[in-house]
């Protein structure tokens, strides 16, 4: 069974399978269309969108905890931040879909490139615990293991200064769910009549979403911080099953405000 979050099934305590790993296996090792895995990912995507990233992802939690360490916080300039956000889509397309689907090795099995070279969640949840638990594996660790430890340390270090750098710039699963964010059943909405435009919500947003302009942005991880800080109670969220009714003074789906 695939669980909706980035996790490693090499973790000694794993009870589910990572959708990104399963997708690479279906494409690279079995070379067939991944009906089951893709269907599962789409189901979680359409029901929850990036709520999965905000409330369920264990590696997201690790980054959140690292960000609580009291060091000066960095605000990434928009000129760098905006283009960098597209990197996660390139990671999804390149390392998770195209390389496993198109590259053919001598054995006929294409390695899971994302898991092998990038995934820090795999290293934290699978690699390091396995090395601690299994002395025989320690002898096999080489350059690749060192590289992955370096990637993990770099992301953890960056998490202290920037909120969720992996989710913002690199996570292929976040990129996949981001495609569904605007029309998933779980939505955020802003009451324009109540909103005074104080922008407290935008200042508190860990993903730097322009909430008053685009509340259901593909970058919103539905953490609910904006809702908690809004003094007017203008932001709400929840499952919206019936969209045939007009929202009236509510604005959803990332539509631009008429006032601005």
């Amino acid at each position: 069974m695939c669980v909706p979050v980035l996790n490693c099934y090499s973790c000694p305590g794993a009870l589910g399978a990572c959708p990104v790993g399963s997708l690479q296996t279906a494409l690279g090792a079995r070379h067939h269309f991944p009906f089951y895995v893709l269907g599962t990912m789409m189901l979680f995507g359409i029901l929850l969108g990036r709520l999965v990233c905000g409330l369920l992802c264990p590696f997201g939690l690790v980054q959140d905890l690292m960000h609580k360490i009291p060091v000066p916080k960095w605000s990434v300039p928009k000129k760098i931040d905006r283009p960098m956000r597209y990197l996660k889509y390139a990671v999804l397309l390149g390392t998770v879909i195209l390389l496993p689907a198109l590259v053919v090795t001598k054995t006929g099995i294409t390695p899971p490139y994302f898991c092998e070279y990038i995934c820090p969640a795999g290293m934290l949840g699978g690699g390091i615990p396995q090395m601690i638990a299994n002395p025989a594996l320690r002898k096999l660790a080489g350059m690749l293991f060192s590289w992955k430890v370096l990637v993990l340390l770099l992301i953890l270090l960056l998490s202290m200064f920037i909120h969720r750098p992996f989710c913002r710039y690199l996570c292929p699963l976040g990129a996949f769910y981001a495609l569904f964010n605007r029309f998933a059943f779980y939505q955020m909405s802003l009451n324009e009549r109540k909103c005074t435009g104080c922008k407290k919500c935008e200042r508190s947003c860990p993903m730097a979403v322009e909430i008053t302009r685009e509340i259901n942005s593909s970058e919103c991880i539905r953490c609910g911080k904006c809702k908690a800080v809004c003094p007017e109670g203008a932001i709400s969220s929840g499952f919206m099953f019936n969209n045939l009714k007009p929202y009236g003074d509510y604005r959803a789906y990332g539509t631009r405000s008429r006032r601005r």
């Binding site: 069974m1 695939c2 490693c8 099934y9 090499s10 794993a14 589910g16 399978a17 790993g21 399963s22 296996t25 279906a26 090792a29 079995r30 991944p34 009906f35 089951y36 895995v37 893709l38 269907g39 599962t40 789409m42 189901l43 995507g45 359409i46 029901l47 390695p111 899971p112 898991c115 092998e116 995934c119 795999g122 290293m123 699978g126 690699g127 396995q130 090395m131 594996l137 096999l140 660790a141 080489g142 690749l144 293991f145 060192s146 590289w147 992955k148 430890v149 569904f180 605007r182 029309f183 998933a184 059943f185 019936n242 969209n243 045939l244 009714k245 007009p246 929202y247 789906y253 539509t255």
Partner: protein
């Protein structure tokens, strides 16, 4: 009016994606793909932990 149209469109897209995802899962189960996921999940993936 524009908002109602947008709401209807989103409702249609949601329903289609939901139906497609269920169809894909059903097809995958019929093709025994869930057992492949299990087979992969019960083994330690050496590449995934930086070995291999």
């Amino acid at each position: 009016m524009e908002r109602i149209k947008s709401g209807k469109l989103i409702h249609v897209v949601r329903s289609v994606v939901l139906a497609m995802s269920l169809l894909l899962i059903g097809t995958g189960i019929m093709k025994q793909e869930h057992t492949e996921v299990l087979q992969k999940a019960v083994k330690i993936c050496l590449e995934c932990i930086g070995i291999g």
